[in-house]
């Protein structure tokens, strides 16, 4: 066996282990909806097994059992992953390795291996979750890990957990300024290489196809879609149409995009949304991850930030699918609608496309309208009038429609949601020979705290129609004809009578907005999160350079790098100086001790070194034998020191001690001189 202190095999104290497990549990929570359930189950079982072993009820599994477990779970993993390599699958492999490691955690070394993997897991968690609450939870997990390390290293301390937590708190407090400076100044470089984040993620949000019912499903979700800050005034509610994508191909049942979306390699999207003061007419959108490339924008916008590009249809696209929350900036164009004047023959065909057969009654209606009105505008107006004047109903609970759903909506059921009406309108217009297309996106949005920004939620999802009239596209919204409240003030009011607003989302605070307290709290929480996302999570690239240029002159990344190195160096220097001065002060803190040491040095110089562990009284007695001349002073000194430390300390003690020291010194000198004289006498 080696004799070095760290190499000896050590058992792991149970308290350290249970806190490590607590950290593990906390850090798994952000992963729970992404991980396959069998993996979560395996982790829980393996960790509990290790705990039971710690309690002494079971043994560690034998090597063969361990191998069997390992290969079994690995096989399971390989089968579920099926050869995809993304950050997502890597993260679950990570968790698998963690679970298996519990079975081999015997020594402090294994404990450290687990600690390191868990620290990295917390970093991986930040790839998937970035909101304030998740950040706090994740950091709490890391803190618990650090506490468990302290317990491991000092298991015999009383209350090691509380002590460790307090110590850690102090460390954090002391290092906080440096951490903040580093965060601000560390140069945000471009990615070195890219790995796709996720393999096919199911999220709520608008998809690239629309069938009857697809948007009314979204209406049950109060999840946030995006938030918008306006540089100028917020547009009135009815004008807030957030265009996302254009659906121009109808197969009798569903609307899709005719152009195959360009396949961008999946990689992190640039989340840097431009900088500087938001001017009037500009707006910032902070969009939640959609894992799609489309960005939502008002009509007649122009891109300002360079992480989005405009398509010919005045839509906006990210260069890569948005796998994290992403901020982008747009400006409203002052001269709207002149981006096209003539439809090409191809486009004309494209926007008039219809299936060969189906919905005969709707086609009849189209023919009749076309015959009755000269201009396409007359057809459009008449169709809108029909929706307004005839008994059509806007409902979240439409009847199931299978074949010929346009016919059934228009002539039989007359009950539907925005997607149904948009689909029917586009169908009739196309059948009447007027180019039309369905637009999917959001409409409306509620004000955030202090009216500072808009929050657009999934239930704001909407579908409407654009129709080609007089050389440009016009927006028409059949929903507005049937349920004006939806367009004036939102779905909540539109569904007030039916009572179906968020009927299934009973836990959503959005459902209880009529209670002022709930409303206030949820708005404040949202504002906190919004600022967190904008200023901390979104602090990248341009935002950093912008902040730097506001602080002083414009800086390059290299200069920022030097600055960062300067921050680190300066912090280390300051820390060193502080600890040196603390040491100095510690040594010179107790003036009485200083006097005692001076006294001892005096005696030592006179040839009477203090014996280790000797009390001052004993030293004084010994010294008195050698110098009877100053015996009384020596004893008085020792007595005073004793009284000072063990009975009662006086303010005068210090003065008396120093006076005594001086007197002893002179007396000793005199005594030595006398003795020398006496020796001289005897010599002669």
């Amino acid at each position: 066996m080696s004799t070095r202190a760290g190499d000896r095999p050590t058992g792991i104290p149970g308290k350290a282990l249970i806190w490590l497990m607590a950290g593990f549990a906390l850090l798994l929570i952000p992963q729970w909806d992404r991980l396959p359930p069998w993996l979560l189950g395996a982790c829980v079982v393996l960790a509990s097994w290790r705990w039971v072993v710690q309690q002494g009820y079971m043994r560690m599994p034998s090597r063969w059992l361990r191998y069997a477990l390992m290969f079994g779970l690995l096989g399971f993993y390989v089968a579920t992953v099926q050869g995809r390599f993304t950050v997502d699958t890597a993260a679950s492999f990570f968790v698998l390795a963690l679970g298996l490691k519990w079975m081999e955690t015997r020594t402090a070394r294994d404990f450290y291996v687990l600690f390191f993997i868990l620290i990295y897991l917390s970093a991986v968690n930040f790839l998937f979750v970035t909101s304030l609450a998740w950040t706090v939870l994740n950091l709490a997990g890391v803190l618990i890990l650090l506490v468990s390390l302290q317990v491991l290293n000092a298991p015999d301390q009383p209350a090691p957990v509380r002590q460790g937590a307090r110590r850690l708190g102090w460390m954090m407090l002391k290092t906080l300024p440096v951490v903040i400076l580093l965060f601000v100044f560390f140069p945000r470089m471009a990615p070195l290489w890219s790995v796709p984040m996720v393999s096919g993620q199911a999220t709520t949000g608008i998809t690239d196809s629309m069938e009857p019912g697809s948007i009314s499903d979204l209406a049950q979700s109060s999840a946030r879609a995006f938030r918008v800050t306006f540089g100028g005034d917020i547009p009135p509610y009815p004008e807030r149409y957030w265009r996302g994508l254009i659906l121009d191909r109808f197969d009798g049942r569903r609307w899709t995009q005719s152009e195959a979306p360009p396949s961008g390699r999946a990689a992190p999207v640039a989340i840097d949304g431009g900088v500087g003061v938001l001017e009037a007419g500009q707006y910032d959108v902070l969009q939640e991850p959609t894992f799609q490339r489309w960005a939502f924008a008002l009509a007649d916008s122009m891109p300002v930030s360079d992480n989005i590009v405009e398509t010919p249809d005045n839509l906006f696209r990210f260069r890569r699918p948005a796998d994290s929350s992403v901020r982008y900036r747009l400006a409203l164009s002052s001269t709207p609608g002149d981006w096209l004047t003539e439809l090409s023959a191809d486009d004309r065909r494209r926007y008039l496309q219809l299936p060969v057969e189906g919905n005969p009654r709707a086609r009849e209606l189209a023919a009749e309208l076309r015959g009755r009105y000269e201009s396409p505008r007359g057809v459009v107006d008449s169709l809108m009038r029909r929706f307004r004047e005839q008994p059509y109903f806007y409902t979240l609970r439409p009847p199931a429609m299978t074949d010929n759903h346009v016919d059934r909506l228009l002539f039989d059921d007359r009950r539907g949601f925005c997607a149904h009406y948009a689909s029917a309108t586009a169908f009739v217009l196309r059948a009447a020979g007027i180019p039309a297309r369905v637009v999917a996106g959001y409409h409306g949005g509620s004000a955030g705290a202090n009216n500072a920004y808009l929050i657009i939620r999934q239930y704001d999802a909407h579908a409407w129609v654009e129709v080609w009239l007089d050389g440009r596209w016009h927006r028409i919204d059949p929903t507005g004809q049937i349920a004006p409240e939806r367009i004036e003030s939102g779905l909540r009011d539109a569904m007030a009578a039916e009572g179906s607003f968020l009927a299934n989302a009973w836990a959503s605070p959005e459902r209880y907005q009529n209670i002022p307290m709930v409303r206030w709290v949820s708005l404040q929480v949202d504002r906190l999160n919004y600022n967190w996302q904008r200023w901390v999570v979104g602090y990248q690239g341009q935002s950093q350079l912008d902040l730097m240029s506001r602080l002083g002159n414009r800086m390059s990344l290299a200069q920022l790098g030097y600055l960062t190195a300067g921050v680190v160096g300066g912090a280390l220097l300051i820390a060193g100086l502080v600890s040196l001065s603390a040491q100095y002060r510690r040594r010179h803190r107790d003036p009485v001790m200083v006097q005692l040491q001076r006294w001892q040095r005096l005696l030592a110089k006179a040839g009477l070194p203090v014996i280790a562990g000797e009390t001052p009284a004993a030293t004084a007695a010994r010294a008195a034998d050698c110098w009877p001349e100053c015996a009384s002073d020596l004893e008085a000194f020792a007595r005073l020191v004793n009284r000072h430390y063990y009975q009662s300390a006086n303010k005068q003690d210090l003065l008396t001690l120093s006076a005594l020291n001086k007197r002893i010194k002179t007396q000793m000198k005199a005594a030595t001189r006398n003795r020398g004289a006496r020796i001289g006498e005897t010599m002669t």
Partner: protein, 322 residues
């Protein structure tokens, strides 16, 4: 090459940390380096930093900076945990060759709590100690000794890895006072040779008085004048002072009584004789005669120690090895 390096190292260490029974740790004599776990932690931070850069994830960068700052804070914590602690050699031990010689070191922390210190003697197993502010703790360190003579505790490595085990601060405590190793007792294969010169001396000593008389329990036939009645009154034991019999002659253990054996073996034989006699109950006085040194017959623990020390250091000056 290695020899020169280690020579240089020990000279440097002597300069930096002189041998002293009392040592106070300060930044002058404290060293600090990351442990292997600390090195791995550093690599881990590098990896998280690259992850943060690559995925343009501010929160991962924040986590990295936080952990890096904690690492630096831990460096100060680890250093100050050991700094200011005083180590004093309280007692240098004695024992037989082949046994572990105990040295007691007192660790005092005058002004702060010193947690989870580990002390390791050159070839001993580690001992841990935690000291509250202003208190002390005595730590017994064992030094195995093969040969009789003086033994130094050697360099005691004082180490702490508190709080996270990612860094180790260490120093050496190098007490100067030597422990004493008695010869390993070996029972002689033959009886010691009686020596002429010795008997005369012992006769003379016996005649000096009753001090060296042998005491033995009363048995039938003993004359009542020879019973120690005072002792009987005190303890109730009938004890005979037998200073006329052959046992009344205090036995001398003589270096010269083992012809043919070499020096170390003779000392071992003598050590065996002394420990055997010292264990006798009732005590029997004995004396030790070494070339150039006579220890008058006596009994008791102190006498035993004096004799064994004489054997241990026979022919040696302090610090010299056999």
């Amino acid at each position: 090459m290695y020899a020169r390096l280690s020579e240089y190292w020990s000279r440097w260490l002597d300069r930096r940390i002189p041998r002293n029974d009392r040592a106070r740790l300060s930044q002058r004599n404290l060293f600090i380096l990351p442990t292997s776990a600390g090195v791995v932690f550093g690599l881990l931070l590098l990896i998280t930093l690259i992850t943060g850069i690559n995925y343009q994830n501010s929160l991962i960068l924040l986590l990295t900076f936080f952990l890096g700052a904690v690492f630096v804070a831990a460096m100060h914590q680890t250093h100050s945990n050991l700094s200011g602690v005083e180590f004093t050699l309280v007692s240098a031990g004695e024992g037989f060759a082949g046994e572990a010689i105990p040295f007691v070191v007192r660790a005092t922390s005058p002004d702060h709590e010193a947690i989870a210190l580990t002390l390791v003697a050159a070839d001993g197993s580690p001992v841990t100690a935690s000291i509250k502010a202003g208190e002390y703790q005595d730590v017994t360190l064992l030094r195995s000794a093969r040969q009789r003579g003086y033994v130094s505790l050697g360099d005691v490595r004082v180490e702490t890895r508190f709080p996270f085990g990612l860094l180790k601060a260490w120093s050496w405590v190098r007490p100067g006072t030597l422990g004493i190793v008695y010869p390993k007792p070996i029972a002689p294969p033959y009886a010691p040779v009686a020596l002429e010169g010795g008997t005369e001396d012992s006769q003379a000593l016996v005649s000096l008085g009753q001090d060296h008389a042998e005491l033995r329990p009363w048995r039938e036939g003993d004359m009542s004048q020879r019973v120690l009645w005072k002792r009987f009154a005190r303890t109730g034991d009938m004890v005979i002072a037998d200073w006329q019999g052959e046992a009344g002659n205090p036995e001398w253990f003589d270096y010269d009584a083992y012809p043919g054996a070499d020096r170390e073996l003779r000392l071992s034989y003598l050590a065996a004789a002394i420990t055997e006699r010292a264990g006798a109950n009732p005590p029997v006085p004995y004396g030790l005669r070494l070339p150039g040194l006579d220890i008058a017959p006596d009994s008791g623990k102190l006498h035993e120690a004096v004799c064994l020390r004489a054997l241990a250091t026979f022919g040696l000056t302090p610090g010299e090895r056999v």
